[in-house]
Every structure is written in C-alpha cells, then in structure tokens.
C-alpha cells in the first residue's frame, strides 16, 4: 500500500492542474497515470482555449459574461448557468497563469496572446498556439508538476476505487512496468481520466480514452450525469477519424459538398462554417444522407486551399502534417475528405463547481466529470478551459477537504485496501480460469459499432431500442469473458479486458439515457422528437449503477441569468 | 538472469546507419590513429638528438621503401579525412549548415579527395622514380 494525502488519477490537463493546485496548498500529491503525463490525450487538442481576454481588435468589448452567454446558448440551455459563469470568469486568470508558467501561445505583434474565431462564439476568443494548443498546455503543466515536486506514478492502470465508511480513500492500480496490483491510499481522490470516446468506433479520441474513471466511479455508486450527450466533431479525417481542428474553419476554411457548394449557408446563414459543432455535424450528415457527399459517398470536403500556403504553414502546420500522413492529402493543394466523428462526452461524473461528488473524498474534473458547463453541446475551445478551471477548483477543494478532516487515513485504509487488492486478484483469476468462453475483442468491436450506428448523430426510438438490446446482450456476454494472459508486465490482454467491462457500463448509461430523453437538444438529435422540450426535459439525466443496467433519475438545471430561447446562428 | 537481460538484450540492436554516424566513427578512428602517429613522429624527429644525424637518416631511408610510402598515403588520408570533417564540425559549431550537414560532408570529402589525389600522384611518382624495394 502506498500512501499520499491526495491521489489524482489521470495525468492530463485536469489532473495535473488539480495536482499543482493542491501541492501549492502544501498537500502531498501523487498523480497516477496510464501513460507518462505528457502523453495524455489533452495533448491532442489542437484549436485553442477560450477566454474573454479581448485581445483581438474585433473582440475588444468581449467579456466573461458574453462568453458565458455563448456557452449557455451553445449548450442548448442545459448547462448550469452558475457553473458556466464561474468558468468564464475564471478563464482570463487561468490563461494568464498558464502563460506565466511558460505556455507558448501564438502572439499578436504587440506581444499579447493571439485569439482566433471559433464555432458558436460571438468574438474571436480562442487563445491558441498554432494548432497544437493542447500539446503546449499539457507540456507546460507537466513542467509545472515536476517543478512543484509532485510524485508521479506513470504507467499505472487504475482499476477501481476503494471506498470505506462511505468515503473514498484510494484506488487500486496495476503497475504496468512491474506487474501486479497495488493500493494507492489517501484522504481524497481526484478522478481526471478523460472521456469515453472509445465506446464509439468512429472517434477522434486517443486509444486510452475509454471512460475508465467514469466507469470506476459509476460502479462505486457515484452518479453519471447527462451521458446521452455525445459530441460529434464535424471534421474528422475520413479513414482514421483523426481530428482536423475547428481552428481550420476559424482561420477561414470552407466545407464543400459534391456540388461544390458551401452548404453551411443553408443551415447557419450567418455563422456559416463557424456554427456550433452539433449544428455543423448535423448539416454535414444531412448532406451525406441526401446524397450530396463527395461522389455520393459518405464524406464531404474541408477546403483550405484558398488560405494559401503561408497561412496554413504558420497557423495550421500540425493538421497539414496529419492530413499528409494519415490521409495522403496536402491541404495546400487538395481539399481534405472529412466526416463527423465522435469527439467528446459532455456527460460524466456528477460534480458541483468544486469538483465534489456525492461521495465524500471523491472529486472529479475534466472530461470525465460533468459540472455541467457544456450542457447538451460543448463549444470548441471550452474543453481545455474546463480542464484547467475545474482542475484547479477541484484541487483546491480537495486540499480544503484534506486540511479540514482529521488525518490518519493510512491506518484505517490498510484493511480495506488490502481487501480491494485481493478482490482485483480474484477477479483476474476468475477471468483467466478458462471458465468463460467469450472473446473480449469481439465484444468490444460489436459494442463500438453498435454505439456508432444506433446512437450516432441522428437518433430515433426503434434504432436505439435495438441498439440498447444489443448492448444489454453484450453486457451479459461480458460476464463470461476469458483472459488468455494472466501474468506479467504490460499485460495488454488483461488491461483491455478489464477496461472493456467499464466501457460497456458507460456506454449503457449513454444508450439508456438517449432512449429515455424524448426531445432534441444540442447533440442529442432525435428524428422522432425533432423539437426541444423545455417543459419536460430542461433537466439533467442521472444514471445510477445497477448490475442489470442503469436506473435513471433527473435533477433540475440551474438557470437564472439567461432565459432559454431558440438557438439561431 | 532476467534482470541483466532487461538491460542488455536490446543493446546494440539495429540502427547502425546514417551518414553522420559513420562520418563520426571514421573521424574518431582516424583521430585515434593520428594520436599514435603523433607520438611516433615525435620519436622519429627526436632521433636526431638522441642518436645523431646518422640514426635519423637511417630511419628516413626506411621510409623511402614502397610499403612505407603507401602507409604514408594512408596517413595522409587520415589527416585529410579528420581535418576536413573537422572543418565541417567547426562550421556546425558556429551554427553554419546544421540543417545541411550531409551536403557539407560531401563537399568536404570532395576537397579531401582532390587533395588526396595530389598526394597520391606525388607518392606514386616517387615510387616509380626510386623503384625502391618493397621493404
């Protein structure tokens, strides 16, 4: 058993920011991460991070209030407005702080941080570093974490929470490079493991974005909120679904159908390509469904050629490399074939604005949490902001919690953590006993395609009903999975089988929530209920874990500042 | 057994290519050869004071033998290679041509080859003239 005061699970932006914040308050922090923290999926973010700095001449009268309004409007009014206001008012401060810590933002001539226009925003508000903003922010925070002397346990595959006396006191992790399970105990745990993109087969997410943190919390009895809201990014590369940043459209890129039209004029005459992502993705999908995909096939073009080589090389060098390497297309010379792809899990672990959950000692931040600032649809550039703002807030809140609690958790934790480690060993033994007959990879493949086909951009009751039945059948089959490799270091077989159990639970929460919500709101677009229904559905969905499938509940949305109105762009 | 292999099993695997790599290895080999030669050279020159004019002239007579002339040519190549590759390295130290180090290498080698041809021509002429013994 390894003891620290605070255990942070996840080494991405949210986890590191939380760790750095708690460390500043004198807390002994350990970060557990499945990869070296600088390899986390936060680093794949490209376009930028929103903050009302008003640095751009066109956005000189931008304010956090306007940012909050755009966020709430973008969320289709499902965001908690107090959380959105909190996030946008914290935004400029945390951006300047990241800059002071060394983040290499792109600059204006006068030396201020440059900002570019992004979808759904009234002003150029997105601070960026070329098209590698996530990479730069992540490395800056990794550097700060090293500077603060935070203990990092890298390549730890966390498998479950340890809950004792109604408090979360630690986690169990598989040490990938040494083999074997170990308990990491503390007085509080912050979960920051990112999204569950890999529950879909067509995702822009990293291979490790499997929703493990959501699943662990969910299985331990913590609620998941708004899981049915899955964002589809308009522009993923055709063959690999790798992200082509919204910044490409922010810099002036066009979306083109088979007829050569900028078809967005039909769907969002004013914002055009910079409509929010849910609207843009639906527009692309509509064009494809109506046969106007390129050559009648299932994709359209992202055309950057008119930007010119110089601008592409300066502002978008990373996506040019990606297009060349992964699609064989140079955006300077050819339009890039793109297709909407699963991108973000708006839902997640139900938390308040300080990252606290209903389980004492357990906090969550980043994509795995749902504060809810994104509501039914997240605006581009708000996810990086969320990780840093709420990472910071949850780190501070956990530090306050630890300082306010009587310490001495270590001795109390010994027995339950030994039991938890033992349970993990038993679970692996059972999988490896040969009693099961199901191949986990077959189940995984079927699950991800089911989610893609039955819970995609456009949804309807019959499709979702069959999808949910398939998912429930897969859940049943997953009880009989078998493991070919039980021992050793870097045991991918074991890790991928264990993570699949969690993925199925998380995906079931998505599926059940989507079928239940009989309206269209933000990214949740039902052809059988095309209108938003504020009377019955202006509320959050909550999912309670039950072994046979989620039990749904709801809670009200915090309103009060911005009246819900029709979204027009 | 395994702990040791963890450290060593992969050492030396693959990756023995690349122009810069071989330029460096040969540069180093030539350098080491030249260090030994330097001390031999000091020894030969000092023979005049150690053993007198006659000793030195006897040694020089040996160097007129064909084998030694050819060895001398090898030495010239070592000096030229080490020297001109060294020019490239000093230029890179000054920040010149770091992104074009391959082109610089071949340019330096072209100069080395031209110089070597000159020395080789003289040496072969010398062998032909003297028609000296092999050893």
């Amino acid at each position: 058993m390894i003891n620290h005061q605070l255990i942070v699970v996840g080494g991405g932006l949210a986890g590191l920011r939380a760790a750095v914040e708690a460390r500043a308050d004198g807390i002994d922090v350990a970060v557990l991460s499945q990869v070296w923290p600088g390899r986390s999926h936060s680093g794949a973010a490209q376009g930028g991070i929103n903050a009302a700095l008003a640095n751009d001449p066109e956005g000189h009268d931008d304010t956090p209030e306007k940012h909050a309004f755009d966020t709430v409007k973008g969320s289709d009014y499902l965001a908690d407005q107090d959380a959105a206001i909190q996030m946008t008012s914290d935004a400029p401060g945390v951006i300047f702080e990241m800059e002071h810590w060394g983040c290499p933002f792109s600059r204006y001539d006068d030396g201020r941080i440059a900002q570019r226009p992004f979808g759904g925003a009234g002003y150029p508000r997105t601070c960026y570093g070329a098209d590698k903003t996530g990479h730069y922010l992540l490395h800056t925070l990794v550097e700060r974490a090293y500077q603060r002397g935070i203990t990092m346990y890298t390549e730890q595959f966390v498998t479950r929470l340890i809950v004792h006396d109604g408090r979360c006191i630690g986690v169990v992790a598989y040490d990938m490079t040494k083999g074997g399970f170990e308990a990491f105990c503390g007085e509080a745990v912050i979960m920051a493991t990112g999204g569950a993109g890999r529950t879909y087969s067509n995702t822009t997410n990293a291979i490790i974005s499997t929703g493990g943190g959501m699943a662990m919390a969910y299985q331990a009895g913590v609620l998941l909120k708004d899981m049915e809201f899955i964002q589809f990014h308009p522009t993923g590369l055709l063959t690999t679904n790798i992200l082509m940043t919204e910044g490409a459209r922010g810099e002036g890129g066009y979306l083109i159908n088979d007829l050569g039209e900028r078809f967005m004029s039909k769907y969002a005459a004013k914002a055009m390509e910079l409509a929010p992502r849910d609207i843009t993705s639906r527009s692309i999908q509509t064009e494809i469904n109506e046969g106007r995909g390129i050559g009648g096939k299932g994709y359209v073009y992202l055309d950057l050629r008119h930007l010119g080589a110089e601008k592409i090389m300066e502002r978008l060098p990373g996506i040019r490399d990606l297009a060349i390497h992964f699609e064989g297309v140079d955006p300077i010379e050819e339009p890039v074939p793109i297709v909407p792809s699963q991108h973000y899990t708006m839902g997640g672990i139900d938390t308040d604005v300080n990252g606290a959950t209903q389980l004492p000692g357990f906090y969550a931040a980043g994509e795995c949490a749902c504060v809810s600032v994104h509501g039914a649809n997240r605006l581009g550039g708000n996810s990086l902001l969320e990780t840093i703002v709420f990472g910071r807030r949850s780190g501070a809140a956990a530090a306050r919690y630890i300082q306010g609690e009587p310490g001495g958790g270590a001795q109390a934790a010994a027995a339950p953590s030994a039991a938890a480690v033992q349970e993990m060993a038993v679970a692996v033994d059972r999988l490896a006993s040969g009693a099961g007959s199901e191949d986990s990879y077959a189940i995984r493949a079927e699950m991800t395609t089911t989610m893609k086909e039955h819970f995609g951009i456009f949804r309807d009751a019959p499709t979702m009903r069959t999808g949910l039945d398939t998912m429930l059948a897969l859940k049943e089959r997953s009880r009989h999975m078998t493991l070919r490799n039980k021992f050793g270091v870097f045991n991918l077989d074991m890790m991928r089988t264990l993570e699949l159990e969690g993925m199925i639970d998380v995906a079931l929460a998505t599926a059940t929530g989507a079928l239940a919500r009989t309206e269209s709101r933000g990214s949740h677009s039902r052809t059988d209920y095309p209108a938003r229904d504020d009377v019955n559905w202006l509320k959050h969905t909550l999912a309670h874990y039950q072994p046979e499938g989620p039990r749904l509940d709801s809670k009200p949305v915090t309103l009060g500042t911005f009246e819900p109105q029709e979204r027009k762009y | 057994m395994s702990a040791k292999n963890r450290e060593t099993a992969n050492v030396g695997a693959g990756n023995w290519k690349g122009l810069g790599m071989w330029a460096w290895i040969l540069f180093r080999v030539a350098g080491v050869v030249l260090v030994f030669y330097l001390f031999a050279h000091i020894g030969v020159i000092s023979s005049a004071r150690l053993g007198g004019h006659h000793t030195m002239n006897t040694i020089f007579k040996t160097f007129d033998k064909t084998l030694f002339v050819l060895l001398d040519l090898l030495l010239v190549w070592a000096v030229l290679f080490h020297g001109l590759n060294g020019v490239r390295i000093v230029l890179m130290d000054l920040g010149i041509g770091i992104t074009r180090h391959k082109a610089m290498f071949w340019a330096c080698m072209a100069v080395a080859v031209v110089c070597f041809a000159f020395f080789a021509y003289s040496a072969l002429n010398f062998i032909a003239d003297k028609g000296g013994a092999w050893l």
Binding site: - | I45, A48, R49, N57, F126
Partner: protein, 121 residues
C-alpha cells in the same frame, strides 16, 4: 538514474573551445607543414634537409606552436574518446585529465629538447 554524477559534472567549455581553436590552428599549420615537408621535400627527407628548413626562425616557431596545439588536440581528443565509454565519476575524470596533462607536458618538453639546437640557434 545516477543524477549525482550529473550534479558533479562541471565545466568543459574550455576543453571544447580549445579543441576548436587548436583545430583551426592545426588546419592552417598542417597545410604548411605538409607542403613544406611532403611536397617540397618529398623523397628528400634527411637530417640536412630538416636542419636547413629549421634554420629559419619562422619554421621553428611554427613547429613549436604546432607541437603544443597538436598535443592538446590529440590528448583532449583521446580524453573525449575515453570519457565516452568509461570513467564517469568526478574523481576518475580528474585523474584522467591530470594523467593526460602530465603526458602532454612531458611530450612537449621532450619535443622542445629535440628541437633545442635550432631554438637556441
């Protein structure tokens, strides 16, 4: 990871810089040395020939300079080769440097001794 070794490691700029400076001297020096010995005097190597050349003060000065430069360059080069593979600890590196300095100074004095008749004259 033995960061204690890294912490002990200090200096090295002078060795690096002098290696470059002597390199440049040697390029120039050797061009003249090789031309004056191998080209002008090829096949004519003899005590008299050398004595004749060294009668000029310029060549004596040149040879002394070359001797110093080449010794530094050669021994520091040898040191770099050795340090690349062995002797990482501070005491070991110090001992190696000291040994090489002793060899170098001794060789330089010996060289001066060999050239003494001409230096004196």
């Amino acid at each position: 990871m033995r960061t204690d070794v890294l912490d002990q490691s200090r200096g090295g700029m002078w060795a690096w810089l002098l290696q470059r400076i002597t390199a440049v001297l040697l390029i120039v020096g050797f061009a003249s040395h090789l031309i004056s010995t191998h080209i002008m005097a090829i096949g004519e190597l003899s005590y008299d020939n050398i004595a004749h050349r060294l009668a000029s003060g310029f060549f004596v000065a040149m040879d002394v300079m070359l001797l110093a430069a080449v010794l530094y360059h050669a021994l520091n080069g040898a040191r770099m080769v050795i340090l690349d593979y062995w002797l990482s600890a501070k005491a070991q590196r110090r001992a190696l440097s000291l040994a090489l300095w002793l060899v170098g100074v001794a060789a330089f004095i010996y060289g001066l001794w060999a050239l003494w008749p001409w230096i004196k004259g």
